[in-house]
């Protein structure tokens, strides 16, 4: 506590005692702290007070105490070193680095092959060379991510998830920047689009629009959906998956690390599960998750392809005599227009599973809608194993499916100057 001169010269910022001055400096951002270094000797000394820089190192670069100890540097010098390397990306770095750290931590024990396939970060020169090659600037957040990891080696399983049906398998790898540059599109319909992912089985790619064109906003990430009926090959509709690279990547990582996307046999499956989509009948619980397959869908003609994964399980506390076998299924399928289709048949995917206490049975099937959304519900009919004449129904909860927001191709809109965006809703039809 410094004594205050009440009779002498008026107080200035300089003459404040150290503690309040440090408190003032603690409210400043890194740019302002650096500016204070040039104001006077005292401010310069106080602005370099190392604990002030710890906060900025953690906020912008996610540097931990362990890392600092390991590197044996002070916080300020760590901040400046990192800034001189990736300072260009300071607005994006923390969000993207965190996403990578969370993703790797989650996948290491579950999908070790995938983590091993991640390539080392690209250098600034490599990214500049790609920009020169394609004649366009890459988005800053994309560059930032590629400084951390330059995609994957083209192996299965893909970092961006897999999907498997009886006759269709897809696994999306995150492309490295040079391979992506090789796939840079200049043709009508996909102008200025750079592929982010690639599936070696289906040729499917997610693209990022590095420049606005043809109704696309700059930085949008989408699946292309060629117009099946158009003669013009430029008529490409787009399912929008993200507004920016950061938006796309961070929301994908969130879905993975929250357990939202199941990991099955060391691959990530992009099934979406609504936790309320569960029905219990007696000791049996049925839950459903769904996935939209853009590679098997089209906007024109309207054909939206969904796969669903059903989990049937019996409580482990159920009595042994409750064991039963599935005989048949009944489905009621309703599209957005209210058209209803009923389907009945023996077994599920050609099987007649036996469910006993503690047993879990899962299977995958698919459905299509001529509207952008729809829902299904129904029941299974079982018989008890030890009382073959006793049959009962097990409810399948209603589950909804909707395709992602899509943008209609400009080529098809013809004279219309603006693009048309459609966002399907999940409204139920009564």
């Amino acid at each position: 506590m410094a004594a205050m001169e009440t009779e002498t010269a008026p107080l200035t910022l300089e003459s404040l005692p150290t503690d309040p001055l440090l408190l003032i400096l603690s409210f400043l951002d890194y740019r302002d702290l650096i500016n204070c270094c040039y104001v006077s000797r005292r401010l310069s000394q106080l602005s370099s007070h190392d604990p002030l820089w710890r906060r900025h190192c953690k906020k912008y670069w996610l540097i931990s105490e362990e890392e600092k100890t390991q590197k044996n540097q002070c916080w300020k010098s760590l901040f400046i070193d990192t800034y001189s390397d990736v300072g260009r990306y300071i607005d994006h770095y923390a969000a993207i680095k965190k996403a990578w750290d969370d993703l790797k931590k989650y996948l290491e024990p579950r999908c070790p092959r995938m983590v091993l396939s991640l390539k080392e970060g690209a250098r600034e020169e490599d990214l500049d060379a790609v920009e020169a090659l394609i004649g366009c600037k890459l988005p800053d957040d994309y560059r930032c991510s590629y400084r951390i990891h330059n995609g994957q080696k083209l192996v299965v399983p893909g970092l961006l998830g897999s999907m498997a049906l009886s006759n269709h398998y897809r696994s999306e790898d995150l492309l490295d920047v040079d391979t992506a540059a090789g796939g840079f599109q200049q043709r009508q319909g996909l102008k200025y689009c750079l592929p982010l992912t690639f599936c070696i089985h289906t040729g499917l790619s997610q693209y990022i629009a590095v420049e606005a064109a043809e109704g696309r906003n700059k930085n949008e990430v989408f699946y292309q959906c060629p117009d099946q009926m158009a003669r013009n090959p430029a008529a490409i509709d787009m399912f929008i998956i993200g507004a920016t690279f950061t938006d796309w990547f961070t929301s994908y990582v969130k879905n993975v690390v929250s357990g939202g996307f199941p990991i099955i046999r060391d691959q990530i499956f992009r099934y979406v599960h609504d936790p309320e989509c569960v029905a219990t009948t007696g000791d049996i619980t049925v839950s459903v998750s769904t996935s939209f397959l853009p590679e098997l869908s089209s906007v024109h003609p309207p054909h939206y392809f969904f796969t669903y994964r059903i989990r049937i399980e019996m409580s482990k506390d159920a009595l042994p005599e409750k064991a039963c076998q599935l005989d048949s299924r009944y489905w009621r399928i309703t599209n957005a227009k209210g058209d209803v289709e009923e389907v009945q048949g023996p077994g599920v995917v050609g099987e007649f599973p036996i469910i006993s206490p503690g047993r879990v049975y899962e299977y995958t099937s698919c459905t299509t809608f001529s509207t952008t959304s729809g829902y299904m519900e129904g029941y299974y009919t079982f018989h008890f194993l030890y009382f073959k004449d006793k049959i009962f129904n097990v409810a399948i909860p209603r589950f909804h499916m909707a395709c992602p927001t899509f943008r209609v191709s400009i080529a098809r809109l013809g004279y219309l100057m603006t693009s048309v965006t459609v966002t399907p809703t999940l409204e139920t039809i009564t």
Partner: protein, 164 residues
């Protein structure tokens, strides 16, 4: 209600509620150490470091904030906001710089965390997004880097932090 007498550097006496004045950890400690009871019948507490004008403002602040919850424990890593100063707060320190700094000194000496925070945040907001030249001007400071040596050293330390 029990009250306490405070005496400024100019020996002016201010009578204040004990509960209000206890927001100053310094005064609270003094009261406990000196075993002063709440009956109000005692010598005034001398505050030779605070003049009457400032003491008046400090008391005014404390009166307004008697019912505030205690300030949260500082989390070193939590984002430090400066835009969360409520309206009344904002008006209060709208004083000339000299008074603002005197308030900081008083809050520091009297250990009143809430007042110290708001006055320091106010100064921080004046520094934000200003160039060093602008900071010199606003606060009437002198560039006291004598000779080229020290300033050049600072420049070298920080040049890799130049705006990209």
């Amino acid at each position: 209600m029990p009250s306490i007498k405070l005496q400024s550097s100019g020996e002016e006496i201010f009578e204040v509620d004990v509960e209000i004045v206890k927001q100053s950890v310094t005064i609270k400690t003094m009261l406990e150490d000196l075993g002063m009871n709440d009956k109000g019948d005692h010598d005034p507490v001398p505050l030779p470091n605070v003049n009457a004008a400032i003491l008046k403002k400090v008391i005014q602040w404390c009166t307004h904030h008697e019912d505030d919850p205690p300030p949260p424990k500082v989390d070193e890593n939590k984002e430090k906001q400066t835009d969360n100063i409520p309206v009344w707060y904002r008006e209060f320190p709208k004083v000339d710089q000299g008074t603002l700094f005197e308030l900081i000194l008083a809050a520091n000496y009297l250990d009143i965390k809430g007042l110290l925070d708001v006055t320091c945040k106010t100064v921080a907001n004046m520094v934000k997004r200003k160039t060093p030249e602008e900071i010199h001007k606003i606060f009437n400071l002198k560039n006291d880097f004598t000779g080229l040596g020290r300033e050049a050293q600072v420049r070298q330390e920080n040049q890799r932090c130049e705006e990209k």
